[in-house]
């Protein structure tokens, strides 16, 4: 038994951290807050050069052939830096889907391009307001052509390859759709301005079937991606807590550091507790993901729920600790607050994941 990452894995995390510290600081993030598309192409290319886009992709497809524990640590650093790149969409979702269900031809065609950073991906499922349900999907593929409008596609404005949920005969399936003339993309603003979001309208776009049992496949994919996004949330939460602690130490009011007041100190303690619980749940989930254990659905939902709670709490109360300055555009607090609220909805909302968690709970005798 060993409940920690290895020294090699920590070394990788440190390399990623140093790269992002140097190339994706808050100044770089702020450059993408307005305009479209909202991403840092240079950072993306840097990540590709470091081989990070293919962290968990086999070497035969141009990947690094490392594992999911490593990918979790990369995610944590991206989250800490709120890196404005389509990493999750491309790596956790599209590359993962290809690895899980792609034909050999599909894998050989797409994965090397993804690892090289020349193809970006996006998942397109949502068509209306509310929890995603099978009945919500009206997009349909007939004779290899997709018609339908997806109203919120994360990284939809920068994607070259869409992973689309659509009706196909009498079931829902997942399709691969290349960006083309039949794909109409309209960027929209979201709560997280460091993230590219688009409405994507498919009008007879050529679509390749990836997996027929699309709804079940989506759940499998979401369980895996939830762990990786949870590490992004963890990284963001830690950074928000660090910012708040630093400010509480240096800001004086009433002749004392504000962190010496219990009201502030105890708020920070509660943020720490929330983060630490999430972190430990994420560690377990990283192992479950890397080893594809039978309890991955529960481990993933647990990591997801607690990481969402932790990031939302830390980002929100980081503003509170900063007081008025925390509510200025100039301070970085809002960037984390915005990201925390985007990630909370990214793969389905907290209440959906709570329900998934409870469904995955074993009988009490086995806990």
């Amino acid at each position: 038994m060993n409940f920690d990452f290895s020294d090699d894995q920590k070394l990788l995390a440190d390399q990623v951290k140093r790269y992002l510290d140097d190339n994706c600081g808050m100044d770089r993030v702020r450059q993408v807050l307005t305009g479209s598309p909202r991403m840092a192409q240079d950072v993306w290319e840097g990540l590709a050069r470091m081989g990070l886009l293919g962290t968990a992709v086999p070497e035969s497809y141009g990947g690094a052939g490392a594992g999911y524990a490593e990918l979790c640590l990369v995610a944590q650093q991206l989250g800490a830096h709120i890196a404005p790149v389509p990493f999750g969409s491309t790596v956790y979702l599209v590359a993962e889907a290809l690895l899980l269900w792609g034909s050999q031809a599909q894998q050989e065609y797409w994965l090397p391009q993804i690892c090289a950073g020349t193809v970006k991906g996006a998942l397109a499922t949502v068509e209306s307001v509310g929890q995603l349900t099978p009945g919500q999907i009206h997009a349909e593929v007939v004779n290899g052509a997709l018609c339908g409008k997806k109203v919120v596609v994360t990284d939809g404005g920068v994607a070259d390859l869409y992973l689309v949920m659509a009706k196909h005969g009498d079931q829902l399936s997942l399709f691969l759709v290349e960006r083309a003339a039949q794909v109409d993309v309209l960027n929209v603003d979201s709560v997280d301005l460091s993230r590219d979001v688009a409405q994507v309208n498919f009008q007879n776009a050529p679509a390749q079937l990836l997996v027929a049992q699309g709804w079940n496949a989506l759940e499998v994919l979401q369980n895996r991606a939830a762990v990786l996004y949870a590490f992004e949330q963890l990284g963001g939460a830690q950074r928000a807590l660090d910012m708040a602690v630093a400010y509480a130490q240096e800001r004086f009011a009433f002749g004392r550091a504000i962190g010496s007041f219990q009201a502030i100190k105890h708020m920070l303690a509660d943020m720490f507790v929330s983060l630490k619980l999430a972190e430990s749940n994420c560690y377990y989930a990283a192992w479950a993901l890397a080893n594809n254990t039978a309890d991955l659905p529960l481990a993933a939902a647990t990591a997801r729920v607690s990481a969402t709670q932790a990031f939302q709490l830390c980002a929100k109360d980081n503003i509170q600790v900063h007081g008025g300055m925390g509510f200025t555009w100039e301070f970085d607090c809002h960037l984390y607050y915005r990201r925390s609220n985007y990630l909370a909805l990214e793969l389905g909302s907290l209440s959906e994941w709570e329900a998934r968690l409870v469904e995955a709970l074993p009988r009490v005798e086995n806990i």
Binding site: T154, Q320, L345
Partner: protein, 414 residues
């Protein structure tokens, strides 16, 4: 106990209702109804000039600042009559935001401390909306420690020379006057060296810079003072009495925002009454029920508490520090409501563009604006201190800034 009108109250209500029916800007009604949190919607019409117009219309007929004496442009009405007016004004009261600081906070301070000759000149124009006032209290280095302010006023003959910076000044850009607190003596204890003035915002040396907020909007400003001259007769209260004057303003601030503070409850109720969740009406979901009930009892509690305050006022009592609880409850509630609403919207909840987002993105606007509610005008932490010390009588915290000259108070760990 009687929550209904007496015959005299009913008659007054009738009068108010008639006036509003005959004079209110009904062409704005549908826009005003769509106002979001922190935003008054007047459609294609200019918000400030519409606000001034409605205020002037009211003032001319004696329906402005109802509780003020008639010589100051008011009506000499009772607190209860004022409530009745507010109930009847309804939607149109959303036009009055521009005047709240001047009428609700500055004016009571002037009435209590300023020279009567100023008051007869200034207050009627404040009541009629002709002139707008702002409040220049907060500073970058002050924050919750309001009395830690550093803007300096030095006596120079019959004038004072002001240098320094204020922050979070709402409406500075369209204000005619400002109520300004300064430090006139840094060698005495923190609260003792302060002095209050009012100044013409067009004075030379006043520079106004809008603050871009975390939510992208700009409701507030920084105001810089460089050798700004203020005549001594614009002093409000004695030299070194500024803190006592400021307390009056702040008490009235809590009163002005106490009862009518936005909570987000009507919005989330409307949503719950119309939305579907898992294929059934959202209102049938036990989780939604539990949260709605919790939020409703808080919103109702604030409303009923405000009613009780009015009775206290009409019996000659003063607004107590327990009014601090209004914002404490509402700020957290609004943040929770926004988060819950987004949760129920799923991934579509991330959209903030009113033209594509559910409900014109009002919950998204709340999400991005509500963190400030827990900070502005006293943080949650300061409000709990006030309740603990001034309502419950608990001893104050140990103080590092007590009994020493302002200039000796530590300002950093170094």
């Amino acid at each position: 106990m009687d929550f209904t009108d007496t015959p005299a109250e009913a008659a007054f209500r009738e009068q108010a209702r008639d006036f509003i029916a005959a004079n209110a800007p009904h062409y704005l009604a549908e826009h005003l109804a769509k106002s979001g949190f922190g935003h008054t919607n007047t459609g294609e019409h200019d918000a400030l000039s519409e606000a001034k117009k409605w205020q002037r219309t009211k003032a001319q007929a004696g329906w402005a600042c109802l509780q003020w004496p008639t010589e100051f442009g008011g009506r000499g009405a009772s607190p209860i009559e004022n409530v009745i007016w507010s109930q009847e004004e309804g939607l149109y009261s959303r036009l009055t935001g521009t005047f709240i600081i001047g009428q609700g906070m500055c004016a009571p301070t002037l009435m209590a401390f300023a020279d009567p000759s100023h008051n007869t000149r200034l207050l009627p124009k404040l009541a009629s909306g002709e002139e707008v006032w702002c409040q220049l209290f907060s500073e970058p280095h002050g924050g919750s420690d309001l009395a830690g302010l550093r803007t300096k006023a030095e006596k120079d003959g019959d004038e004072w020379l002001v240098n320094g910076q204020k922050i979070w000044t709402s409406g500075a850009q369209h204000s005619d006057y400002g109520l300004l607190i300064t430090r006139t003596d840094a060698t005495v204890a923190k609260h003792k060296g302060l002095t209050m003035f009012f100044l013409d915002m067009k004075s030379p040396g006043v520079r106004i810079v809008p603050i871009k907020q975390a939510n992208g909007n700009s409701e507030f400003n920084e105001v810089y003072f460089e050798n700004v001259r203020i005549p001594d007769d614009q002093r409000v209260g004695g030299v070194g009495e500024g803190w006592r004057v400021a307390i009056t303003t702040l008490m009235n601030e809590r009163m002005a925002i106490g009862g009518s503070i936005a909570t987000g409850f009507p919005e989330i109720l409307e949503w719950a009454q119309s939305a579907q969740l898992n294929g059934r009406p959202a209102l049938e979901d036990p989780n939604v029920k539990s949260k709605l009930a919790d939020w409703y009892v808080k919103a109702a509690g604030l409303k009923n508490n405000a009613s009780r305050q009015i009775t206290t006022l009409s019996k000659g009592g003063l607004p107590g520090p327990e009014n601090s609880m209004g914002k404490l409850v509402a700020g957290n509630m609004m943040q929770d409501i926004a988060k819950f609403a987004l949760d129920l919207q799923g991934l579509s909840g991330v959209l903030v563009d009113p033209s594509v987002a559910e409900g014109a993105a009002r919950f998204q606007a709340m999400l991005l604006r509500s963190p400030a509610v827990r900070i502005e005008g006293g943080t949650d932490q300061i409000l709990r201190n006030i309740i603990g010390e001034r309502v419950l009588g608990l001893p104050e915290d140990m103080r590092a800034d007590k009994g020493i000259a302002f200039s000796d108070i530590p300002t950093s760990a170094l």
